[in-house]
């Protein structure tokens, strides 16, 4: 920026505060000193407060027995487990609802976003209505709505709503049949693996052949047929080694099958529906960001309509869509912490809530919780940056 003259003009040396480099140095030293003084002040106060309350610092409490139960856990957990295990259970529950939420929000969001651009006036209006309603209502309110006004108002177990006497919904949650795998089922994942490897090989071979000879096979459809068909074939050939454990009403409650607790359902529904409204807007603006000339040029080359979309519009739109999409995924993961309001046992609820209240180790617990979210944020944005760099426009 500033070009220094080669030789200083004669005269007295300017004072140091006129020298930009020295000024910057002094300014930064002052900032460091201020931050350090602030931190020292806080640490001093905290130590005084902690010793006054008789709280010992450190992570030793993670080995103590928690003494409370958790309603949903993906690993073995009982009230005899340690706080460390509580942390893991909470983390897994957070990841579960986030992963399923991202999946559902993506599907709903892309569907609504494309419907928003439909030439059909009614469909476009309906999609617009969805977007405008759900993104302008606070997420917490939507979670409460699904939990207290819908799922808590379901009938008791005796009068459950059911779909074909297989899936049941009542005030205690959703009951799904659970597949039980018998011996010989191991062949099916194996067949699936073989099909995936074969499809990848086919796609690579097809691309090479296409570049060399200009001929191409519909590799996508063949791969799909392979991936779906081969496991199906094996399934039938081995005589369908799966039985379903259908939930049954015994006494006052259902036994067997998979139980999805209402807290999970409410959180999952609200997160997916809320985030989908933002994703739909992103998809719409991403597709609209592609200049119309691109479509027209592709049509002028007499590409069929589906290839215009697949080869010209979508790849360019994805470039616009992916960065904001990432931040929506991150928002969803962070928003899953609202679980604590309805008692879904996620990380914030069981760790920053119950564990914090029982142990009083505020600093350690909050620091661990924040560290988890920071790590997830960093990992997702690193992955997306990598992906973004891969699909980025190669400029001349």
């Amino acid at each position: 920026m500033s070009v220094r003259p080669q030789a200083r003009p004669a005269g007295p040396k300017p004072p140091f505060w006129r020298d930009r480099a020295k000024r910057a140095l002094i300014f930064q030293l002052l900032l460091v000193a201020a931050v350090a003084a602030f931190l020292l002040y806080i640490i001093g106060n905290t130590q005084a407060n902690l010793s006054a309350r008789g709280i010992t610092t450190g992570f030793g409490f993670l080995n103590n027995t928690a003494g409370f139960g958790i309603v949903q856990s993906l690993i073995d957990y009982s009230s005899q487990s340690t706080y460390g295990r509580t942390f893991v259970v909470g983390l897994l529950n957070t990841l579960l609802v986030s992963a399923l939420g991202v999946l559902a929000a993506t599907i709903i969001g892309f569907t609504v976003g494309i419907a928003r651009l439909s030439p059909n006036w009614l469909i476009a209006r309906l999609a617009n209505g969805y977007i405008e309603i759900f993104r302008n209502i606070p997420l917490l309110l939507q979670i409460f709505f699904w939990y207290f006004a819908v799922l808590r108002a379901m009938p008791a177990a005796r009068d459950s709503l059911s779909i074909g006497e297989v899936i049941f919904l009542n005030v205690r949650g959703l009951y799904l049949p659970e597949p039980l795998f018998e011996s010989g089922f191991g062949l099916i994942p194996l067949a699936f693996g073989v099909a995936v490897v074969a499809s990848i090989a086919l796609v690579i071979w097809n691309r090479r052949r296409h570049e060399a000879t200009g001929k191409r096979l519909p590799a996508g459809w063949i791969s799909l047929a392979l991936i779906l068909g081969l496991p199906m074939l094996v399934l039938v050939a081995t005589g369908v080694p799966v039985t379903w454990d259908v939930p049954e009403l015994r006494g006052f409650n259902f036994r067997g099958g998979i139980t999805v607790i209402p807290e999970f359902l409410a959180l999952w529904l609200a997160l997916s529906i809320y985030t989908a409204s933002f994703i739909a807007e992103i998809v719409r603006s991403g597709i609209q960001a592609i200049p119309h000339g691109q479509t027209e040029a592709a049509q002028a080359l007499s590409l069929p309509r589906n290839l215009v979309l697949r080869l010209v519009v979508v790849p360019q739109a994805m470039r616009v869509i992916i960065p904001p999409l990432t931040s929506q995924y991150l928002n969803l993961i962070k928003n899953s912490s609202l679980a604590t309001a309805i008692g879904y046992p996620d990380l914030v609820s069981v760790f920053a809530g119950t564990t914090l209240n029982q142990t009083g180790q505020a600093i350690e617990v909050i620091a661990m919780t924040m560290a988890v979210y920071l790590t997830i944020s960093l990992l997702v944005s690193m992955f997306m940056n990598w992906f973004n760099a891969r699909v980025a426009l190669v400029e001349r």
Binding site: N49, P119, I133, N136, A149, S337, L338, Y373
Partner: protein, 366 residues
Amino acid sequence: MTIQREMIPARPAPGSTIGPIAWLRANLFSGPVNTVFTLLGLYLLYLLLVPTIQWAFIDADWIGTSRADCSREGACWVFINARIGQFIYGLYPGSEIWRVNLTFAVFAALIAWLAIPRLPFKRWVAVLTLVAFPLLAYFLLYGGHFGLRVVETHRWGGLTLTLILAVVGMVGALPIGILLALGRRSQMPIVKSFCVVFIEFWRGVPLITVLFMASVMLPLFMPTGVSVDRLIRAFIGITLFQSAYMAEVIRGGLQAIPRGQEEAAAALGMTYWKRMGLIVLPQALKMMIPGIVNTFISLFKDTTLVMIIGLFDLLGIVQAALSDSRWLGFALEGYVFAAFMFWIFCFSMSRYSQYLERKLHTGHKR
């Protein structure tokens, strides 16, 4: 052979290309697939709208004082009617409610002045809103001076508290956000890395952990014996959180200003703060208004989280009213009312920001 000597009068367009029928054909029934979609859409609309209108309007009960006045067939708006004062003002003492009303009337007037493009003296009104108004609001709402009685913050609630939290978070976050954004673009390595870490930290954690931190850890940070009001703790948490998002919006605006502007100012011998304050920020802030409005909308929705740390904002007070034993079983009405209030605010703000975006698109689009 005949010669046409007069102009042939223009014939009307074929009936199939104009009018409502043609519109229906082009937009709803242009092909078999489209027709199926239209019919499906109509059916969906029928499924959604008919029961909703039946519940919310036709079968609803509007007038009364207790739950006995509700027939239980449709919505019981009597519940909302009976509680509306609490939903809007929280537990603010009835004789002092004029203070809340006056505060919001002044605020609405200031915002309207800023939002309507034709009115002059925008800069002075903005200064008034950001500096003088918060002081006025403090004296009016909290009291304790000029003969006004003190109203403790635990009596604040409802829509009032929601608006106060959002506005305080915003007014507090704007200057911090500007400093952070400038720091992030600075060439001083320590300042830059400090700002990057600060911004990315607050953006990486959920607001709820920030609020937990503010309510649990802040008392530990204070000297022994000093206690901080619960509302102030929420203010601090929300402001820090919001300032990080604000900084990113401002950084985006700063990046949109061509570099030549700053270089030209530097060539005229302006100092850093003059370059920023007189040349870059005035241009950038104008372009950032839509982004600022958008972050304000998300802040407005996020204020609902304060109910988790025990403050009664609009959603918090509705939730509390639902567990009143005299009014059990009206969860749906309560949520619909709260959703409607939030929706009105957020929707109108987002429309305003879209209008601004369209207006600002003209000159600066590159």
